[in-house]
């Protein structure tokens, strides 16, 4: 294993990490502000990916596809919030889990109805195709660098938005004291719809960005959703910086684990069993990391103490 290979895998991990951040940020915001666990967040990711693939195919413009993913995911989020989610804020977590599980069924089967069972494919946009040479002679795909850049910029933007703007101040107030902000005369219903749509747009964007890297198909959202849960458990519920750090930990340890563990075990095992043990172990690595974090800090790295 060479250093350039490791560096390349680290960049892949970073790209995976920022994508997870876009998912986890929405989830953690929605939980922090509304106290809601939303299993259907993966469906919004899927909506974004399908919207991007379909619109890009129809218009020939990847950029229009990305714009469509934002619009469709945010609209789907707002509609779902208005029709279903807002009835759940005062319910217990079990009802929230069940209703959003039902939403997954509706979204997944609805999408299959519209687009069929065959996956869609989307190529990398022209201006962003090809590879660039990084310092140290590493050849790396420009598009993945672009995703890293977009993800980092959005992470910074989101943190500034929440720390500096008026809406951000309301979100922070909502996280600490729900009664207070309604007492302050903030239209809480509108704030909730806005936060939900914002989270949905971020998830939809994540779906659109990976649509050029992998196939777009029904059921693509849920594995990512569960990884985003792992991110939140590690980072701490309700914390955007926590989601960022957690996403990088998960993205890097998963990617590096998959590429390096089999090679590591090959140092002292026969190749076939090294591959078996290495790949099984690397598939469990992030969960082991999560368990370790929990032992040390039960509420996550950035979570409030009990």
């Amino acid at each position: 294993m060479t250093w350039t290979l490791i560096a390349e895998q680290a960049l892949n991990g970073l790209q995976f990490g920022v994508m997870l951040f876009l998912m986890a940020a929405g989830l953690t915001l929605i939980f922090g502000v509304m106290g809601l666990i939303n299993l259907a967040h993966g469906s919004l990711y899927m909506v974004g990916a399908f919207a991007c693939a379909a619109v890009a195919a129809a218009t020939g413009s990847w950029w229009l596809g990305v714009a469509a993913s934002l619009v469709f995911a945010a609209a789907a989020g707002a509609v779902v919030e208005l029709a279903v989610i807002r009835r759940l804020y005062k319910r217990d977590h079990l009802d929230q889990v069940l209703a959003t599980f039902a939403l997954i069924l509706v979204f997944s089967e609805g999408t299959r109805w519209l687009f069929g069972s065959f996956p869609l494919y989307l190529s990398v946009p022209q201006g962003l195709s090809g590879a660039v040479t990084l310092p140290g002679g590493i050849q790396y795909p420009l598009f993945r660098l672009f995703i890293i850049g977009v993800g980092l910029a959005l992470a910074a933007g989101l943190m500034i938005f929440i720390a500096r703007t008026r809406v951000g101040a309301r979100i922070r107030a909502g996280q600490s004291d729900r009664e207070m902000i309604s007492a302050l005369g903030v239209n809480i219903d509108r704030l909730y719809t806005l936060v939900f749509a914002l989270g949905a747009a971020l998830a939809g964007l994540a779906g659109a960005l990976v649509a050029s890297l992998q196939s777009v198909q029904v059921g693509m959202g849920e594995p990512v959703l569960i990884l985003a849960f792992v991110v939140i458990i590690i980072g701490g519920l309700g914390s955007i910086p926590g989601a960022f750090v957690g996403a990088l930990i998960v993205g890097l340890s998963d990617t590096l684990g998959r590429s390096m563990l089999p090679a590591l075990f090959a140092q002292f095992m026969e190749p076939s069993s090294a591959t078996a043990v290495g790949s099984s172990l690397s598939s469990m690595l992030i969960y082991i990391v999560m368990a370790c974090v929990l032992v040390v800090r039960p509420t996550g790295l950035f979570g409030a103490k009990h």
Partner: protein, 331 residues
Amino acid sequence: MGFKMSRERIVDLAVLLMLPAAVLWASATGETFTITLATRIAILAIAATGLNLALGNGGLVSFGHAAFFGAGGYVCGILASHAFTSEPLMTVPFLIEGTKSMPVIWLVAIVVSALLAALIGLFALRTAGVYFIMLTLAFAQMIYYFAISFPGYGGEDGLPTYVRNGFPGLNTLVPLPFFIVCFVVLALVIWLVDRFTHSRFGLALAAARQNGERLEAVGIAPFRIRYVAFILSGAITGLAGALYTDLNRFVSPSMLSWQTSGELIVFIILGGTARLFGPLLGAALFVVLENTLGGWTEHWQFFVGLILLGVVLFARGGAIAFLSGKASHHG
């Protein structure tokens, strides 16, 4: 009060007897498929009754019970496949061979899933609420990915067992005896859970669900009560997993998937949380719904989702509450 109690009892009894009644009718008319369907309902009801001990009685919303269901399923698949090929599982430090005997397989399935629940519970029960939901989901997903990436037992493709395992004195290859086996196990499990929930342990578990602080103040540590409930719950769901593999003669990672965990919760909600016969009624409703809608449209899941949404948003308390005229809600 007395009248409603008895009405609830009557509904319970009717729910329990509906499976044998359907099977009786099916054997008379030669509808083998209905027997298989009833067997499936019985097995899923065992799994959901197990989950309900943790979820309904203990208030532990586990979104990861597929891990135990799948663990039981793989125990059955692995033991049976080793018996089929006559290759021992391991030879050092001691010899473990495969088996085709259901009782032995059940015992191993119970022990293995209980151990897995003990391990997962050790981490997950340190937390509560949303954390607990996400953690159980995450750990189940870990087992799922392990089953996919571990090349030994079929990986992503799953593991066939070819021939159904045997029960002393019965021909389990015929649908009817296998249904009877599953139904008797279901009845035993329901009886057992009823015992648990009305015992001292059940009293403490219900208290842990409602007010952990109060339980601590009378000198009982909620963690230990919840931990034991979680392990018992996982063991029962694991037993159901072993039967499910025997029903399908096949085990695959899909038994371990998050959808399986979600469906187990759906059974409980459809039937009614913290009601002894709720999971059975819920499983029956779900399987019948799946088959009826599945006959009309291949997109039946879309409508199942809508119906489920309707139930959660507007019909809290589940079907047992509805049937017994008791507008109660869980919590």
